[in-house]
């Protein structure tokens, strides 16, 4: 009897939750429930991130996704959640069509995921876990401390930091927030502008 691989166990747990609630999101037609199921699915995904050793990304997943983006979505749900819009039924034909198309995509993806030998599970494990926050933070600042030991100078030269993408993303975020605020602002009465003319 081999010892229980807890990593595998928690992986199964989180993956089942994530997959199950993802499917639930698809299957339910109630928008409020969809939001709730999505929160659970995304939270479970962050668990998967932790299991994969990406502790910082997992934390960000919870903070930004679950804490920010989904709250935003739920705001939207609440703002528009009027009687007829909560349950919007989809025609059966569309369901069938979507199932066929989605199923075929799934088959394709599944075959790709399982047929590559190097992606299969490995026996040996690294002894200790490393906290990745520092390395990520330094990489975003432009320094790849994880690659200092890189022997090949050619490879090392390619491992520069992510300062520029970081800046771009930051500015992008700012622009997006301003744009969102502008788009969502309440409309003025058209009559007022007509008078001013």
């Amino acid at each position: 009897m081999e010892p229980i691989n807890w990593h595998s166990v928690f992986f199964m747990l989180f993956s089942l939750v994530a997959c199950g609630f993802s499917l639930a999101v698809v299957l339910t037609s109630n928008i409020v429930r969809m939001a709730f199921y999505l929160v659970i699915a995304l939270a479970a995904t962050s668990g998967l991130f932790f299991l994969a050793g990406a502790d910082f990304v997992g934390a960000m997943q919870i903070m930004i996704y679950v804490g920010g983006t989904l709250v935003l979505l739920i705001f939207g749900v609440m703002l528009t959640a009027k009687g007829p819009f909560i349950n919007m039924k989809t025609a059966a034909g569309e369901w069938i069509l979507a199932t066929i198309v989605g199923g075929s995509l799934f088959v394709v993806l599944l075959s790709a995921a399982t047929n590559v030998p190097s992606w299969q599970a490995l026996d040996e494990r690294p002894a200790e876990a490393q906290v990745t926050a520092t390395r990520l933070g330094m990489a975003l600042m432009g320094a790849r401390v994880d690659a200092l030991e890189e022997a090949d100078p050619v490879t090392r030269r390619g491992l520069s930091g992510y300062l520029l993408p970081f800046e771009i993303v930051s500015v992008h975020l700012l622009v997006v927030l301003i744009g969102a605020a502008y788009l969502a602002r309440p409309k003025k009465r058209a009559r007022g502008s007509a008078d001013s003319l």
Binding site: G102, A113, P126
Partner: protein, 112 residues
């Protein structure tokens, strides 16, 4: 084969990512509610993120991974998803203000 004793590999994560991705895609294709479509997008992005993280994981593929790149791209995707969600929600609210509905089938102005 015991799933509690066997170690998990990249393939397992990829399968989870595929499930989430397909769920998101089907969600986008079937939901008439604009917010449902948005949720599908979030699912698709997450499924992709799972893949990135899996490929960059030290645990799953020691020595043969893509290193920090996977995690960093996952971070960017998260940030972009947030930005996208903000804008999409603003568009949705605007659409709701104009059409008094969130049914995307009503938004067929792009019809050729």
């Amino acid at each position: 084969m015991n799933i509690f004793t066997e170690p998990v590999g990249v393939s397992h994560y990829l399968v989870v990512g595929a499930v989430m991705f397909v769920a998101g895609a089907v969600c986008m294709a079937t939901k008439r509610n604009a917010l449902g479509v948005l949720m599908g997008i979030e699912l698709v992005l997450n499924g992709a993120n799972v893949n990135f993280v899996a490929f960059g994981s030290q645990y799953l593929r020691p020595g043969a991974n893509i290193g920090l790149d996977g995690q960093l791209i996952a971070l960017f995707v998260i940030v972009l998803a947030a930005a996208e969600a903000a804008v999409a929600l603003a568009i949705t609210l605007n659409f709701y203000n104009n059409h008094s509905t969130v049914d995307v089938d009503q938004a067929d102005e792009l019809k050729g």
